[in-house]
């Protein structure tokens, strides 16, 4: 429960229906896309303009009440998980597209605008917004910036951080700051990059200018089947090593292919051990040249079958399964747990083989469907939360995958963010020297730690506490730290 004088001060800032404090009203905000973790917030406030955001933050700052900003709540890492003693600041009402400048190729939008809505608004100008998380019909651009979201097209067109020009945000003390600018570069420290992916820990975003790209004249996708997952993984590296940067380069293993085929009926080759989807985009002659090269590499890498989309409808059909992979897997298993480890591409064969072995060891099926070109894995561990022991074994299996990702030079999260979910992994991935810098930056923005506390960056004490869970090969991580 929050202090009643505090909530009454909140109610003076926004209209009556924009402040929720009753448990039945705040329940929809108890979790985001990561439903493993739930907490009912003390209050939910839904401002509809920046002045209200400023006032809310000033109030929370003065009263030392923590604030969790929230977009559409599609985070897969618990980034928007509330605090019982805190306020959820929903930006759902910030959904105006303020301007589209076709000449400068930018769109100025509010943070609550859905990712796909930007491309829809830009379509009449022949432009689109490139980063396309699978949840793009629902997820908000503010959340995308906060998590540095990725997507299928990021291999060629970059992550959110590469596609944002300017961010306007409110600091915890209510100050309004603009990061970045309308021109190519902006002098001084790259605060724009710092804000991007900061998971709501540094400021609350109120306006975003994104880059738009011209829609390619033509896009074509090749679907290639492999009888061995390592061959498919090697093909990914071979394509990139040949100097080809496809518009998208995605992989699905047999488990995933079978699940999506039942769902979308795209006529995927069900006997294949793995399927690659490789997209070429550009002018017709560029696409023709690139596709010829892609087919050559795929064949040389041992593809047993290659189909190239003959028209737009077929292209979309080939992609439909990939885009629908998560819901499709949701249909065949009571629960699944999605991992987001990212590794250097060259390590793909080894890591996929290891995941397969562990899957058998744990007796837990694992469907792999992922951004292969980026080396961004998304193993979906299938389990049944009602079956005793399943959940624990799933978490252990997941932790081992992430440790392996770190071991081969990768990262515990490619695009979903750390949130609450991977806070333990942070201790394994980063040395205390780096974590100390993170904490120093956090203090510079938010000295009292009021913005989204407990997420993204663990305290060193927490790492020490959690350390025992990551004893690897008998070596205690960070032995120099005090234990509690």
């Amino acid at each position: 429960m929050l202090d009643p004088t505090f909530t009454s001060a909140l109610s003076a800032i926004v209209s009556r229906e924009a402040l929720l404090t009753e448990p039945e009203d705040t329940r929809p905000y108890e979790c985001d896309g990561l439903t493993l973790y739930r907490e009912q917030p003390g209050a939910v406030v839904l401002p509809d303009n920046e002045a209200q955001v400023v006032a809310i933050l000033k109030l929370c700052h003065a009263a030392r009440v923590p604030v969790v900003a929230r977009g559409s709540g599609t985070s897969l890492s618990g980034g928007a998980l509330p605090l019982a003693q805190g306020v959820v600041l929903s930006l759902a009402k910030f959904r105006r597209i303020l301007a589209i400048d076709p000449l400068a190729r930018t769109a100025q939008v509010e943070p609550g605008v859905r990712n796909l809505a930007i491309s829809e608004a830009a379509a009449p100008y022949g432009l689109f917004y490139a980063p396309d998380p699978s949840s793009q019909i629902a997820c908000s651009i503010g959340g995308n910036v906060a998590e540095n979201a990725g997507g299928v097209h990021c291999l060629k067109y970059g992550l959110t951080v590469h596609n944002v020009r300017k961010v306007r945000a409110v600091l915890v003390n209510g100050e309004i700051v603009e990061f970045g600018g309308d021109a190519l570069d902006s002098p001084g420290f790259d605060l724009l990059a710092l804000i991007t992916g900061s998971e709501g820990l540094l400021a609350v975003i109120t306006q975003i200018t994104v880059k738009l790209l011209p829609e390619p004249e033509l896009a074509q996708v090749a679907l290639a089947a492999f009888d061995d997952i390592e061959k498919a993984a090697a093909a990914v590296g071979n394509i990139i090593a040949a100097g080809i940067v496809p518009g998208g380069l995605e992989m699905m293993d047999r488990e995933a292919t079978r699940a999506v085929e039942q769902f979308v009926h795209a006529n995927y080759p069900l006997d294949a051990a793995a399927v690659l989807l490789v997209e070429a985009d550009g002018t017709p002659s560029e696409v023709a040249a690139e596709m010829a090269e892609i087919e050559q590499v795929l064949l040389a890498s041992g593809a047993t079958e290659i189909r190239v989309s003959e028209n737009e409808a077929q292209r979309l059909l080939f992609w439909s399964g990939r885009k629908a992979a998560f819901p499709a897997v949701g249909r065949i298993s009571p629960d699944y747990y999605c991992i987001d480890g990212t590794i250097p591409r060259a390590a793909l064969p080894r890591v996929l083989r290891q995941i397969e072995t562990w899957s058998r060891e744990y007796g837990l099926p694992c469907a792999n469907v992922f951004h292969a070109g980026d080396g961004n894995l998304h193993p979906l561990i299938l389990f049944d939360a009602n079956k005793p022991g399943d959940r624990e074994r799933t978490v252990e299996f997941g932790d081992r995958i992430l440790e392996l990702c770190i071991d081969v030079g990768g990262t515990i999260t490619g695009e979903h963010g750390v949130g609450v979910e991977k806070i333990r992994g942070m201790c394994a991935q980063f040395a205390p020297e780096a974590l100390e810098r993170f904490l120093a930056i956090k203090r510079a923005f938010d000295p009292h730690g009021l913005l989204n506390p407990g997420k993204a960056v663990p305290t060193l004490a927490r790492c020490a506490e959690l350390g025992r869970m990551h004893v690897h090969a008998g070596q205690l991580p960070h032995p120099e730290l005090p234990r509690f």
Binding site: L159, A183, D185, P187, A241, V418
Partner: protein
């Protein structure tokens, strides 16, 4: 906010003690001679006040860390130095201190051809890296003109003539090894193509001009050498037609690898300096196309059509390597060509960058402004990015002319900011652009200062640069 700087050097006894111990430890790699110190006191811009007290040439991360630790304990400034090609006074030792010349950390540590990345020490120059990559079919495209070190390019977030296709250092640095102000070695980023774990320290250090940490190793993105490269030159009746052509090309999304604008004055200088006798002293665009042979032809034809609609003539192709090299050498020598227009004069370069939709307006207003001042100030630019430079010439013996030149440069900066752009598209802030930074960023400057304080509480790392100092540096405490 006032950004006046009062330069105060460290107290002599502390400095003497430190230089002595450095000389003892690093012997011939720690140099106190006047000539070497002078050489390390400036980049290629105008001379600045401030020589380091000693120049040390470390060869390893551990040596850098150890020197920084010592300096931090003694509160003595440390300035990282590559090859000194920066333009905004980045390397001037405003308060004296230790210059860390990283040019001996010049090893390419690994090349991962299959992953299209490599790891190099900070002192590797971009030309040395590309020489090392020969035979792998890969290259590192970022080309600021000067043969700068990769560490220096990362520190200043350099870009250059082909940023329009390949991005700037911001897009091409995957990870770093950085020595922090307390002398610890931190690795950021890595070989994974993307990561949303933790704050983006990599990009925070990229462009921080040695004020937050000293970059000692850089993980870089590499690219496959394009199958075909061709260049083209097109001359225009007026500047407007040239700039408008660029805007249309960008709008159509033609993936040109480089587009460079030279105005009539610059073109005249280049014709004289680089013997481009086949061209006229008119506004000119240089293009380069990368891709498959078919794509390259397609791009060039599209550009030719656009140029034709904007009064472009004499569209000339250059496919042979020697011919392309000659053209781009001429472009890279533009600064020296401009200087040669008026022997005895000095020059500095402005660095405005505006949203491409405002580019024509900004360039034309600037051109009219130059004419009005009566100064010679040729315009060159990476216009595909909205970035252009003036090489402003002035007589160092004529204070009036210098003042006029500086006023022109200030107007160019403010004009760019007014049009939603920046005063520093690629050269960085250093010490010369601090006021403009404040004009451009307002509140964010305070935040930058807090970050500086958080990561370098004793203000030893390249003090007085990049962000305005919060207070006059004092070494008495």
């Amino acid at each position: 906010m006032k950004t006046a700087h009062i330069y105060e050097r460290c107290d002599e006894k502390t400095v003497a003690g430190l230089t002595e111990s450095l000389v003892r430890e690093y012997r011939e790699r720690a140099v106190t001679s006047h000539a070497i110190r002078e050489q390390h006191s400036h980049g290629e811009g105008l001379a600045d006040a401030g020589m380091p007290d000693i120049v040390v040439f470390p060869t390893s991360n551990d040596e850098v860390a150890s020197i920084v630790r010592t300096c931090n304990a003694a509160r003595i400034p440390v300035i990282a130095f590559g090859v000194g090609t920066s333009l905004e006074g980045h390397v001037a030792a405003l308060y004296g201190g230790v210059c860390l010349d990283l040019s001996r950390m010049d090893r390419v540590l690994e090349v991962n051809a299959a992953d299209l990345d490599c790891r190099v020490q900070a002192g590797v120059t971009r030309e040395a890296l590309n020489a090392e990559l020969k035979g792998t079919g890969l290259f590192f495209p970022i080309d600021p003109g000067a043969n700068a070190t990769i560490g220096g390019m990362a520190s200043t977030r350099a870009s250059g003539t082909n940023a329009v296709r390949y991005g700037t250092m911001r897009e091409n640095v995957l990870g770093l090894t950085v020595v922090t102000a307390d002398g610890r070695i931190v690795r950021t980023g890595g070989r994974a193509r993307k990561s949303s774990a933790g704050y983006d320290l990599t990009r925070l250090f990229v462009g921080s001009e040695g004020t937050l940490g000293i970059i000692t190793e850089v993980q870089l993105r590499l690219y496959g050498l394009p199958e075909a490269i061709s260049a083209a030159v097109c001359q225009f009746a007026d500047l407007e037609g040239a700039v408008d052509s660029v805007i249309v090309a960008m709008q159509l999304g033609i993936p040109v690898a480089r587009i460079e604008l030279l105005d009539d004055v610059q073109m005249k200088a280049c014709i004289l300096h680089s013997h481009l006798d086949e061209f006229a002293a008119k506004p000119t665009l240089f293009f380069e196309f990368h891709g498959t042979p078919a794509a390259v032809r397609e791009q060039a034809e599209a550009i030719q059509a656009i140029a034709g609609e904007h009064g472009g003539s004499r569209f000339q192709w250059a496919i042979a390597q020697e011919e392309r090299s000659r053209l781009w050498k001429a472009r890279h020598d533009a600064y020296y060509a401009a200087l040669a227009l008026a022997p005895g004069k000095q020059a500095f370069a402005t660095d405005a960058c505006v949203p491409i939709s405002r580019l024509t307006e900004c360039v034309l207003e600037t051109q009219a402004d130059i004419v009005e001042t009566g100064l010679v100030a040729p315009i060159v630019g990476h216009v595909g990015d909205g970035n252009f430079h003036l090489v402003v010439l002035f007589d160092p013996a004529d204070p009036d002319e210098r003042a006029k030149a500086e006023a022109l440069a200030a107007r160019v900066s403010m004009r760019a900011i007014r049009m939603g752009g920046t005063c520093t598209g690629e050269h960085g802030v250093g010490v010369h652009k601090l006021d403009a930074l404040v004009a451009e960023h307002g509140e964010a400057v305070t935040l930058m200062q807090s970050i500086k304080r958080a990561l370098d509480p004793n203000d030893i790392l390249n003090p007085g640069k990049t962000v305005p100092p919060e207070k006059v540096r004092s070494t008495t405490s």
